[in-house]
Symmetry: C2
Subunit: 100 residues, 2 copies
Amino acid sequence: MFVHTVFFWLKHPEKQADRDALRAGIETLRDIEHMDAAYIGVPADTRRPVIDHSYDFSITFVFADQHAHDAYQEHPMHLKFVENCAHLWERVRVYDAVGH
Amino acid sequence: MFVHTVFFWLKHPEKQADRDALRAGIETLRDIEHMDAAYIGVPADTRRPVIDHSYDFSITFVFADQHAHDAYQEHPMHLKFVENCAHLWERVRVYDAVGH
């Protein structure tokens, strides 16, 4: 099992059009066939000192293994998303985990 | 849908006994009945500038909603895990996301 988690911080979080565009872009990733489960989210209302709720969008994509993840990374729809949307984010932070 | 993601950094990553103890503690969380999916991992071999692979363990627990997540937080097995294992970690970082 391979869990690919990404947090996105918008360059202009005050611009609703940017927010909408990034969300729309992220939603296209869900259709890529290599993943077993896909979760797209925004920060919950939970607040504790250990919680980072500063991001704008999160994705949690679960793959069978790293091979499936690697195929996703190279998938034309993923590459197109990066090409179309990279200008919208200030920062992304990725956590890749293998386990069960 | 509510995704609760936690990254753990060991206080003494060089101590295998600490690593084993934290992993064993994390594994007990999987049995808590409030979650729909549970993934426990360690950093993958992927390396890109945007990837943070500095953590020791990750959990990605998926709940139907925040109510289920809140019940998990208060579950005796979760509280016991924190009581037993908190001394093992230097830092935890939590990301809670709501979405679909």
